[in-house]
Each structure stands twice: as structure tokens, then as C-alpha cells.
């Protein structure tokens, strides 16, 4: 049987954290969670997740800084990062993609029911990239 894919969820809102993690757990993913920027960055380095779901407005360190650091570290730079935020201005979206995010989801605009499908899509393209 395939090993469960590990998703790191960096999100400071406990309500959303529960919703997203429960949904991903039900879909067969292993979910690790962090509620601050520093904790998130530490877990990326220590756990090497298969994919990161990253909020932008976070305590201690914001999501854009975390994304930059993930992409600057040779050990973590190939981990796909999906931004999941409520900042929906074009300039924020542009910054997210420029820093290396594979996708940018606005929490109020996307449907949580599509989250597993989106995650699987980037896990598949990441696996193809590794081959």
C-alpha cells in the first residue's frame, strides 16, 4: 500500500485548521499542523512534508517570508507550496507566484470540497518532476 502523503498545514485560525485538517485526514492524507510562522518553518525543515498549505497572515513570521525561506533552502525548495489565504489582491497573488507558490487559493472564494483534488494535482506533478 502506498505510504500516506504528508501535508503540512500552516494556519493560525483554529476553526479553519480543524476544517482543513479533518477534510485532508478523511481523504487519506497525513496532516501535520503549525499555528505560527516560526513553528511552520521549523516543521518544513524537520518533517520534509510532501506539500505545504500556507496562510499569509500569521504570527511571528508571515507566509511570504516563510515561502521565501522554503525556496532558498536546497533541502526544501522542491516542496510544492499552495498559498491559502484571504488576501486576494492582485499584487498579493503576484507576489505569491513570484516567490514560488504552485497555486494561490482565496479562502472565501474556493470550495473546501475541492481541496483534496487540488492537493493531489500538485502532489502528482511534483512526483513527475522528481522522476
Amino acid at each position: 500500500m502506498d505510504q500516506k502523503k504528508k501535508i503540512l498545514l500552516i494556519e493560525d485560525d483554529k476553526f479553519l485548521l480543524k476544517l482543513y485538517s479533518d477534510k485532508l485526514n478523511r481523504e487519506g492524507f497525513e496532516v501535520s499542523m503549525a499555528i505560527t510562522g516560526e513553528e511552520g518553518l521549523g516543521k518544513v525543515a524537520a518533517e520534509k512534508p510532501d506539500l505545504v498549505l500556507l496562510d499569509i497572515i500569521l504570527p511571528q513570521k508571515n507566509g511570504f517570508d516563510i515561502l521565501s525561506e522554503i525556496k532558498l533552502n536546497s533541502a526544501t525548495k522542491n516542496i510544492p507550496v499552495i498559498i491559502l489565504t484571504n488576501l486576494g489582491q492582485d499584487s498579493d497573488i503576484k507576489t505569491g507566484f513570484e516567490l514560488g507558490a504552485v497555486d494561490y487559493l482565496v479562502k472565501t472564494d474556493f470550495s473546501i470540497t475541492k481541496l483534496p483534488e487540488i492537493v493531489r494535482k500538485y502532489l502528482a506533478s511534483s512526483a513527475q518532476h522528481k522522476r
Partner: protein, 240 residues
């Protein structure tokens, strides 16, 4: 600086804009959570629902989506006030954009016993515009035309070339706008008392935001109206 009184406090317009912007942002996170919870429940992820449970949750989801839209409008209005409205212009098929809005609004129009026709006059070139924002304007104008019509609505949309511009027109046979109200129609939070009777759930922000989008896109927006006969909204966008 203009001041408004709220209770005993007197706040400047600037402060009100700032407070509105902060509160709106803060509302987005719990609203996203409520919306996601409802979507999970409605997807039967946590077990099957009865028909009436589903119906109640669908109504709650629809109310939540309306709240999210209101919050977005409040944020847009704050951005207009602070000159922070960002347009992301790109080559766009304006005709397709209008057709998409009409298609999206078809079921709402049908429910309100209204019809929408589209006339495309001549060749309409692609425009360099922010397609999402311009679509927001088109949606707002046609949506208003449907909402503010009693009985059978007949909404006629047309697109034509007017010199160096594209002219968009939306004509309706709705309740019209009185002379007294005409000056206020693009004002933030203004809602016509006659409009409120027909549709209570507006915020008075749609036309304020629409005007800002069109002006920032290099165009003009205006209307003509006759009370109880109907209103025609026009806007232009430069061909470039």
C-alpha cells in the same frame, strides 16, 4: 475633513474607511470557516442529510455567500476611498465577458420573469482591461436592471464601437430613477427608497465601485432614466 457622528463619537471619513477596512478583513476568516463547514456538511462528507436539513443548510450557505460579497464590497469601497483599487489589465475579450455575465444571471432573470437580450453591433476588438473588475461592473448593472423591475422585465444589452471607445448599454423597463435621486446614484451607500421596496438586501456600494472601476479603466459611466419607464446605463472603455 468631513466628519460623521456615530453615537457620541465623531469620526473622520478617513477613520471610518480605515475601521471598515479592518473589520471587513477580520470578518473574512470566520466567514470562510462558516462557508467551508456548510460545504462539508452539504457534500455528505460527514454522513447523509435529510432533504429539509439540506434545504436549511443551502439557505445558510446562500446567506453566507451574500455576507462574503458584502464584505468584499466594503473592502472595495475602502480601496476606492484610499485610492488603492488595483486593476490588473490584460488583453480581454469584452464580448465574451458580457456573454458570461448574461449566462450567469439567466436563472435569476428567469426567476424574476425577465429576459435579457444582447446585441453586438459590428466588430468589437479585444480591450486592455481588468476582465474581473469590468465583469463586476457588467454584472452589477444587469443585476440591478433585473432587480429593480416590477413585473415582466425586458433588459436589452448592447455593445458597439463609438470612435476610439467601446460603448456598453444596458436598457431596462424598470422603476426608473427620480430626478431628485439622479445626483446621488453613484454615491457610496446611497440606496433609492423606491429601490429598497423592491430589493431590501443591497448595500448601496455597487454603483460607487462600478464608477471607480470604469473611471480608472479610462472610461466614463452615466445613465438616463424616466420614472416608472426604465433606466439605461452606459459606459465606455477605450480601445487600446
Amino acid at each position: 475633513m468631513p466628519k460623521q457622528t456615530i453615537g457620541h463619537a465623531s469620526l473622520s471619513e478617513k477613520k471610518i474607511t480605515e475601521v471598515t477596512s479592518v473589520i471587513s478583513h477580520q470578518l473574512k476568516t470566520p466567514l470562510a470557516g462558516i462557508k467551508s463547514s456548510l460545504e462539508i456538511l452539504l457534500s455528505d462528507d460527514l454522513g447523509p442529510l435529510t432533504k429539509s436539513q439540506k434545504e436549511y443548510l443551502e439557505l445558510t450557505l446562500s446567506g453566507t455567500i451574500k455576507m462574503i460579497q458584502l464584505v468584499k464590497n466594503l473592502l472595495d469601497a475602502s480601496r476606492v476611498d484610499e485610492n488603492r483599487m488595483q486593476l490588473n489589465s490584460e488583453r480581454s475579450d469584452f464580448v465574451k465577458l458580457v456573454q458570461e455575465v448574461i449566462s450567469d444571471l439567466a436563472s435569476f432573470a428567469k426567476a424574476k420573469n425577465s429576459s435579457i437580450s444582447l446585441a453586438i453591433k459590428g466588430d468589437i476588438p479585444f480591450l486592455t482591461i481588468d476582465p474581473t473588475r469590468v465583469q463586476q461592473v457588467v454584472n452589477n448593472l444587469i443585476y440591478n436592471a433585473i432587480r429593480y423591475t416590477k413585473g415582466k422585465g425586458d433588459i436589452r444589452v448592447s455593445i458597439e464601437r463609438d470612435g476610439d471607445n467601446i460603448l456598453f448599454t444596458s436598457l431596462d423597463n424598470g422603476i426608473g430613477i427620480s430626478d431628485k435621486e439622479k445626483k446621488k446614484i453613484f454615491t457610496k451607500y446611497y440606496r433609492s427608497p423606491r429601490g429598497v421596496v423592491l430589493a431590501t438586501d443591497g448595500s448601496g456600494l455597487g454603483l460607487f465601485i462600478s464608477k471607480a472601476i470604469i473611471v480608472q479603466s479610462g472610461g466614463k459611466i452615466w445613465f438616463t432614466s424616466k420614472l416608472d419607464k426604465g433606466t439605461t446605463f452606459y459606459f465606455t472603455l477605450p480601445i487600446r
